[in-house]
Amino acid sequence: MKKNKWNKLLAIREDIPKKWYLLGILFTFIFLFIIWNALSFMKLVDEVFLPTPVEVVISFILSMVDSAYWGEIGISVYRVFMGFLLACLVGIPLGILAGTFKFAESLIIPVSEFIRYMPAAAFIPLIMVWVGIGEPAKILVIFIGCFFQLVLIVADDTNRISKDLLSASYTLGANRFQVITRVIIPAMLPKLMATMRLIMGWAWTYLVVAELVAADSGLGYSIMKAQRFLDTESIFVGIIVIGLLGLIIDRCFAMANKKLFPWAEGGN
C-alpha cells in the first residue's frame, strides 16, 4: 500500500494529486526560509552578508512607505516597458516576415544569430558613447538585449505553423496576403504571447544591468547605492521587489493568454 503511493508520486511525467503538488511548493519555500533564519539568527554568516528576515521585512516596509522608492520603481518599470515595447514593435513584424518568406529569412536571421552572441552588456560603453547616459541609453540596452532574441523566436514560431494549414487556406481561395493576415498571424498569436512573456523576463535582467552600470535612478541603481553603504537589507529588498514585479507581469501575461485565446491547445 505504502509502496504503491510512492510509486504513483514518482511516476514519470504523470500527474500527481494537486495536494501533493502544493505541498511540494510549500516545502521548498519553508525549507529555504528556515535555512535563511538559521544562518542569520545564529550568526553563522556575518550580518553584513546576510541580514535576518526581520531586518529585511522592516527594510521592505520602510521602502514601501517611502514615496521616493516608488519613484525608483516607476522609472524602472518605465524603462523596461519602453525597451520591451520598442523591441516588440520592430522585432515581431521582422520575425513574422523572416518566418514567412525565405528571402526575408536570409536578410534577417543570419545577422540576428550573429549579433545574439554579442552580450548586450558589452554594448553599454558603446551606447554611452553614442547616446550618452540619459534615458535612451538604458532603453537601448534593453532593446538590444531583447530584440535579436525576439526576432529569432518569432521567426521560429511562425515557421512552425503547419504547411497543410496554409495549403488548406489556399484551396479555400485565400491569396498570399490573406494567408498572412488571416492564417499565419492568428495561428501564431498564442505562441507570440508566450514568447513576449519570456522576453519580458530578459528585459528586466537587462534593465538591472543597465542601471547597475550607468544610472542615477531606478531599482538597479538603488541596489548599487545600498551596496556602497553595505546596506545589505536594501539589496535584498531591491531584488525581491524586482522579482515581485516580474511575477506580477508574468501572471498578467498568463491570464491574458487564457482569456484571449480560449481555443489554444494545452492550457497556458
Binding site: S162, D164, L165, S167, A168, S169, Y170, T171, L172, G173, A174, Q178, R182, V183, P186, A187, L189, F261, P262, W263, A264, E265
Partner: protein, 265 residues
C-alpha cells in the same frame, strides 16, 4: 445553324471530362539526385464522378492531388480542370487533407464560412450556407465549438463542410479518413457517399485502403511506385454495394484479389 452550333457546344462540354490530366510528370531535384515522383500520368474524371486513386506509399498520390489543387507545379504535362489550365490554387478546387487542418482559432461555423468570407459574402448569406453544411455533416450542435473540443472524425467533417461550402468544381481528398479508427472511418464513408449523392460533386479520393476505394468510387486508378505511374484503371461501378451493404460478395472478392496482385509485385 445557330441552334446546331449551340447543341454542338453542349455536346463538347459533356464529353470534356471535368478533370483531364495528360502526360503529367513530376521530378524532384534534390541535392545530389533527381527523383521521378510521377512519370507520364494520364487520367480523367468526369463531371459528378467519384474516382479513387489507390497505390502504395510514396507512389505519388499526394503529388497528383497537390498538382491538381495548384499547390505544386508539374514538371511537364497538361492539367485541366473544368476546361481551364491549372496555374495555381483556387477555391474552385477544394481539398481535404489527411492531417487536421481546422483553423483552431475559429469556431466550427467560422471555419465553414472562411472561404465565403474571403469571397466577400454578407453575414446573412454566409449563415445560410453554413447552416446547410453544418446540417449536411451533422454538426449543428457544435457550430460554436473550437477544434480542440472535437474528435478526429468531427474535425474531418468540418473540413469537408468547409470545402463544400465554397461549392467547388471538384473536391480533392487526400486520405481524409486515414487517421480515423475503423468505426469512425466507416460512418464517414457513408456520410461522404450521402453528401456526394446529394450535392453531385466531382470527387477525387486518395486512399491505400482497397475496401474503401471499392465501396466509395465508380472508378479506381491503381498506381505503382518508382517511378509513380498508373498501372490500371478499374471500373468499380458494378453494383457491388446496395444501400451501403455489400451485395455482390464474389465479384468484390475477385476485384479485391486482382487489386492486391496489382499492388504486390
Amino acid at each position: 445553324m445557330g441552334v446546331a452550333l449551340k447543341s454542338e457546344i453542349i455536346q463538347v462540354r459533356k464529353e470534356q471530362p471535368e478533370i483531364d490530366i495528360r502526360g503529367l510528370s513530376k521530378v524532384y531535384q534534390t541535392k545530389n539526385n533527381r527523383f521521378e515522383a510521377l512519370k507520364d500520368v494520364s487520367l480523367h474524371v468526369n463531371n459528378e464522378e467519384f474516382v479513387s486513386i489507390l497505390g502504395p506509399s510514396g507512389c505519388g498520390k499526394s503529388t497528383i492531388l497537390r498538382i491538381l489543387a495548384g499547390l505544386e507545379e508539374a514538371s511537364s504535362g497538361n492539367v485541366r480542370v473544368a476546361g481551364h489550365e491549372v496555374t495555381g490554387p483556387s477555391a474552385e478546387r477544394g481539398m481535404v487533407f489527411q492531417s487536421y487542418t481546422l483553423f483552431p482559432w475559429l469556431t466550427v461555423r467560422e471555419n465553414i464560412e472562411f472561404g465565403l468570407k474571403l469571397k466577400g459574402l454578407k453575414a446573412k448569406e454566409r449563415k445560410e450556407i453554413s447552416d446547410k453544411y453544418l446540417e449536411l455533416v451533422g454538426l449543428e450542435r457544435f457550430a460554436n465549438s473550437y477544434g480542440k473540443e472535437l474528435s478526429g472524425g468531427m474535425k474531418q467533417r468540418v473540413a469537408i463542410a468547409r470545402s463544400m461550402a465554397n461549392s467547388p468544381d471538384v473536391l480533392l481528398m487526400d486520405e481524409p479518413f486515414g487517421a480515423l479508427d475503423a468505426q469512425t472511418k466507416q460512418s464517414m464513408q457513408h456520410l461522404l457517399l450521402d453528401i456526394w449523392k446529394k450535392e453531385k460533386t466531382t470527387i477525387v479520393f486518395i486512399t491505400h485502403d482497397i475496401d474503401e476505394s471499392l465501396f466509395l468510387s465508380q472508378r479506381i486508378y491503381v498506381m505503382d511506385a518508382r517511378p509513380g505511374r498508373i498501372s490500371e484503371e478499374i471500373d468499380a461501378d458494378l453494383g457491388l454495394f446496395k444501400d451501403g451493404e455489400l451485395v455482390d460478395v464474389d465479384r468484390f472478392m475477385k476485384m479485391k484479389k486482382h487489386i492486391i496482385s496489382l499492388l504486390k509485385h
